[in-house]
């Protein structure tokens, strides 16, 4: 099990409305990522689901049961905190066992669950250590292990990788994906890192100012963003937004919908050295596998071009640039997507 449904969930702190009526259905076994800029309400939303916070109004269901007024202890969920929140005075084994002991689980069952989690997360050799004697990555594994042994209805993960260094983050990301594939338990993951969102999620929930902007699979978000905000938030480097005249210069012959007020084109969909539009290069970022050019069109509009591979370009160069056919995104005056 692990089907979670939110109906018009609002959260206010005095006059401040942090969640503005969230409707969301998360299917059993799904890996859903909440993503959005700082202060968009993603962690607050997770806390409403966990039961650590209660919504000001609305309804939360887990497997068909209304849990809106049920405490965190009785929702059957497990949470991995950004700070790990391990009990610092307990050994790793005691950290894992503590929640199970609270449920008065037989000792043999506790030992077997701990052994299984330790094997899965490769933390067997750390059992007698305290959290203070562990590295960041080891602590993270223990925090995940503490959630795993509980065999919860769903895992809630609040920016669990944000305290790790870049290299460790990549490997832990892969391990989390493998863990989900193995356990097939519902996971809700909060992050502001779109790479984590894109690589881990079955579906991504993009939030802004306490409201959902779009819920979709990673590729759908990338290929068919519902509005300018989502289009700008997903994808790196960020999508270029141009006026219709600039877009016409980059993609001559491309039909522009009448309602289009602005046009988006991803840096990867701009080809340097091709077409009739000219771009003056202001900055070259040579990343080895990719060369990112920051520049200006003749109209003065800023534009970023991501060229797969290496290229010889320098600041001040004037390059021809063209957009790939069919790769333009159109938005109306209210920033909503307009189909071509």
């Amino acid at each position: 099990m692990g089907h979670i449904r939110l109906e018009v969930v609002r959260k206010t702190y005095g006059p401040l409305e942090v969640l503005k009526g969230i409707d969301l259905s998360i299917e059993k076994g799904e890996f859903v990522v909440f993503v959005g800029p700082s202060g968009c309400g993603k962690s607050t939303l997770l806390r409403q689901i966990s039961g650590l916070d209660r919504p000001s109004s609305g309804r939360i269901e887990i497997d068909g049961r209304d849990v809106t007024d049920v405490g965190a202890a009785d929702r059957g969920l497990a949470m991995v905190f950004q700070s790990y929140a391990l009990y610092p005075h307990m050994t790793v084994r005691d950290n894992l066992a503590f929640g199970l002991q609270n449920n008065r689980m037989p000792k043999a069952e506790i030992a077997s669950r701990i052994a299984e989690a330790a094997r899965m997360l490769e933390i067997g050799h750390l059992m007698t250590r305290r959290p203070g004697q562990l590295s960041g990555g080891q602590r993270q594994r223990v925090a995940i292990g503490r959630a795993v042994v509980r065999d919860p209805t769903a895992f809630l993960l609040d920016e669990p990788l944000s305290n790790l260094d870049a290299e460790l983050r990549v490997s832990m990301r892969a391990e989390l994906a493998a863990l989900h594939a193995r356990l097939k338990t519902t996971m809700i993951y909060v992050t502001h890192d779109q790479v984590e969102a894109m690589t881990l999620a079955d579906r991504i929930v993009v939030l802004r100012d306490g409201a959902i902007e779009q819920v979709a699979t990673p590729m759908e978000l990338f290929n068919r963003p519902a509005n300018r905000f989502v289009a700008g938030f997903i994808g790196a480097p960020r999508m270029n937004f141009l006026d219709v005249a600039d877009a016409a210069a980059l993609a001559p012959g491309q039909a522009m919908p009448g309602a289009a007020a602005s046009v988006g084109v991803r840096p990867q969909n701009l080809r340097p050295g091709d077409g009739e539009a000219a771009m003056t290069v202001d900055l070259v970022e040579a990343l080895g596998t990719e060369t990112v050019l920051h520049g200006r069109l003749a109209s003065g509009s800023r534009v970023i071009v991501a060229h797969a591979g290496q290229m010889a370009a320098r600041r001040g160069d004037v390059l021809a640039v063209a957009a790939e056919a069919g790769k333009l995104h159109f938005f109306d005056a209210a920033d909503r997507r307009v189909e071509a």
């Binding site: 966990s50 650590l52 405490g71 965190a72 202890a73 009785d74 969920l77 497990a78 949470m79 905190f81 700070s83 929140a85 391990l86 009990y87 610092p88 005075h89 503590f98 929640g99 609270n102 449920n103 503490r146 509980r150």
Partner: protein
């Protein structure tokens, strides 16, 4: 504005710069350290080291004369007088029964006061750490008695508990008979403990509150997710994480309880009889107030008490260092 305020300091520093450099060249690095430490060492020496030495000298001398040159050397006789007992548990069998009465009174006082004090401080800290209205106000209320002079504390409670005090007035108004609170041995002892707790609990509550606030909130949230009951969270999470602070509080409270004097002296004068006469009062009265003044015995008793305090202080320092290493 800042520049205007800094100008005199700058001028002063400029004036002293050349002579200090010269002095440093003459005295060297070690000399300069000694130079800057000298004023403090002089004060410390004059008011701590010299009196300590004098105290030892008095403890080894006899007679009622106040000035040391007029006193005779008696060796360990004063200590012998204090420590000689048929049965140390029964002051009546001791050469100096009053000393042992004071010792056992102090032991009883320390035993009860420290337990009650730590308990009250703990409960206060837990309440003040919770989500209560006007938390800042309540913190100030509980800390306020700490700011009062012990004599003021003693006087306030004396006005409440004395025969014609506030408490009896209220009881009479309610139709009850007045009680001689401070002339009853049990009540006097309990009140001496009570006002001492009232006067000091705020300080220890503050230490415990600081410890409670250092426990990250998300640990409690993790415990909540782990289905931990509030009682178990207190036993398994709060107490172990607060233990270092709690140890320091217990040892500090012990040290201060052994030294109890002023507020109780003002409240009961050590009475009724000798039922609230504690060790410091015994030393004070033996050395200065009694008609049979005996500075040598008082000095010996204060050295014995000092020994106990040194042990407790070393324990406290050790515990603080242990806590810092955690």
């Amino acid at each position: 504005m800042g520049a205007v305020l800094a100008a005199p300091a700058g001028l002063l520093a400029h004036l002293f710069d050349a002579p200090m450099r010269l002095w440093q060249r003459i005295a060297g690095r070690g000399g300069m350290i000694a130079f800057f430490l000298a004023p403090n060492m002089a004060i410390f020496g004059l008011f701590v080291i010299v009196p300590l030495g004098l105290n030892v000298a008095y403890a080894l001398s006899g007679g009622t004369a106040l000035f040391l040159p007029q006193r005779s050397y008696v060796g360990a006789a004063n200590f012998e007088r204090l420590l000689t007992c048929g049965d140390h548990m029964d002051p009546a069998t001791c050469r100096d029964d009053l000393f042992w009465i004071a010792v056992w009174n102090t032991v009883r006082f320390v035993g009860l006061q420290v337990v009650v004090l730590v308990g009250v401080a703990m409960v206060t800290a837990l309440i003040l750490n919770g989500k209560i209205r006007a938390r800042g106000f309540w913190r100030a209320v509980f800390f306020f008695p700490v700011l009062l002079s012990p004599v003021v504390v003693g006087l306030i409670w004396k006005w409440i508990f004395q025969r014609q005090g506030l408490l009896n007035w209220v009881m009479v108004e309610l139709g009850m008979d007045p009680v001689n609170w401070l002339t009853d041995r049990t009540w006097a002892f309990l009140f001496s403990v009570g006002i001492s707790v009232w006067a000091h609990a705020g300080f220890y509550a503050l230490i415990l509150l600081a410890g409670l606030q250092a426990i990250p909130r998300d640990i409690y949230e993790a415990a909540e997710m782990d289905r931990t009951s509030p009682g178990r969270a207190f036993r398994r999470i709060t107490l172990p994480l607060l233990w270092p602070n709690l140890l320091v509080v217990i040892v500090l409270a012990l040290i201060r309880a052994v030294q109890v004097f002023d507020e109780v002296y003002v409240l009961t004068g050590g009475g009724p009889g000798t039922s609230t006469m504690y060790l410091t009062q015994y030393i004070y009265e033996t050395g200065f107030a009694s008609s049979l003044r005996n500075p040598g015995v008082a000095a010996a008793a204060s050295l014995l008490m000092g020994g106990v305090l040194v042990v407790l202080t070393i324990a406290q320092l050790g515990l603080t260092r242990w806590r810092d290493r955690q």
